[in-house]
Symmetry: C2
Subunit: 233 residues, 2 copies
DNA sequence: CCGCCTTCTTGAACATGTTCAAAACGTCGG
DNA sequence: CCGACGTTTTGAACATGTTCAAGAAGGCGG
């Protein structure tokens, strides 16, 4: 009765045991393909069901809404990004290269979906939606994402006050959200503008962080850290 | 044939001449009332039409989509805010008080709509949507909003490098977008958390801006200004 | 007053996300 | 193999934003 679709979020179990699991996968992969091929808006539930060779009702049995299919897509992306980033995090020490690498890597992974990402964003913006990056339901994905940025910081040559260092990953995650927002609106050739944004922001962030060592700046830094903490509470 | 609804955005002509103008107004006011009373999602076009005493098709003759009705609502809010802010901008000189006043004022004006603002935001987040704060269609409203922040800056005691001063209004507008995002997700009593956010961010922004006078910070400031400019282009 | 053109109005029809009651299927104790 | 019960599957029905072909209203030159 209760939709099982939600449970899939962290489902990494081998597909041996489950029965309908195959059908679920089939529906998902069909949906993702169609989303990619013709965008989210133009892909109807009827077509997804038809191409997957099941009935409309059956699709809803596994995914309680079109949004849930989108959610699955989101998780898929996230996982791909984490994989794509391993190499960079292992080989690079420079903070700017690590951060830039991670951000550009996200761009590459997400590129095929740029066209219909807008619709995703639309749904994500609704506070009550489980798709919202701030929602409880997407906490696992969010935490995983923040974790990547923690690795970016921790494995780098960056020297920072412990307070700031602790909050920085979350701030970088927020930065990425901003970049995503820009990206969604970016229709330049080959995402030129978003790439430029990353290439200019990364050194800027680096500069800013190094500035925090100047005595006069220390105070504001602490204020920012305090603000961030109070927001999270 | 082409929808006249769009033209209304900047339509300030007296209602004497037009014929269907009365019908248009009737539909709009009915829609706004219903949006307020039962939210955007639960208000159907059929009900709007019925309550306004016209046919569904007729509503579409004047407003080419439900979103267009929302757009009208948005403009309404914006105008209210501009009015509410006049007093503060005339009486106060302190930058923090001006900025804080404007932000809190926005909060007050928007409070009655907080509950269904989420739905509004959802639609606004879609890049292609005319409701997006970054879209071409909402440029007039956006410009008007930025203009308010320009007044905040210009009429204040703030001393800044001309470059920064020129870009600051747009940055403050962006800050407000951030606050709105927070606000939409804020379900604390009496919007306590959003108010706290404003009260903590405003002095912080002030501090930050004053920091830009420190020689070592100047460089980063210029970088930021450059980045903002390149984004706008 | 008549024909004609523009403006306005209508409601049925359409597209699509979603629901639901019923049926098919599978499994397991007997 | 039987029957009962949980799981899966079905497709028709529903709700609602949107379109469209047809008609009504209103004015205007003759």
């Amino acid at each position: 009765m209760v939709q099982k679709g939600v449970a899939t979020l962290t489902d990494v179990t081998d597909s041996a045991t489950a029965k309908g699991e195959q059908t679920r996968e089939l529906i998902l992969s069909t949906a993702l393909r169609l989303f990619r091929e013709q965008g989210y808006g133009k892909t109807t539930m009827r077509v997804i069901a038809a191409e997957a060779g099941v009935s409309v009702g059956n699709a809803y049995y596994y995914y309680s809404s079109k949004e849930h299919l989108m959610q699955a897509y989101y998780d898929h992306l996230q996982a791909q990004h984490r994989e794509a980033v391993v190499d960079i995090l292992e080989s690079e020490k420079s903070f700017t290269k690590r951060l830039g690498g991670v951000l550009h890597s996200w761009l590459e992974v997400s590129a095929p979906y740029h066209e219909f990402a807008g619709t995703f964003f639309k749904n994500a913006a609704e506070p009550k939606s489980p798709l919202s990056p701030f929602s409880e339901q997407s906490r696992p994905a969010r935490d995983a994402s923040v974790e990547v940025f923690r690795q970016v910081v921790d494995g780098s040559d960056l020297k920072l006050a412990p307070d700031l260092k602790a909050e920085l990953p979350e701030l970088l995650w927020l930065m990425q959200m901003g970049i995503v927002l820009f990206w969604v609106h970016d229709d330049s050739d080959g995402l030129r503008r978003t790439k430029a944004l990353i290439d200019r922001s990364v050194p800027l962030v680096d500069k800013l962080l190094r500035l925090t060592r100047i005595p006069g700046v220390r105070g504001v830094t602490n204020d920012i850290v305090g603000l961030v903490r109070s927001i999270k509470a």
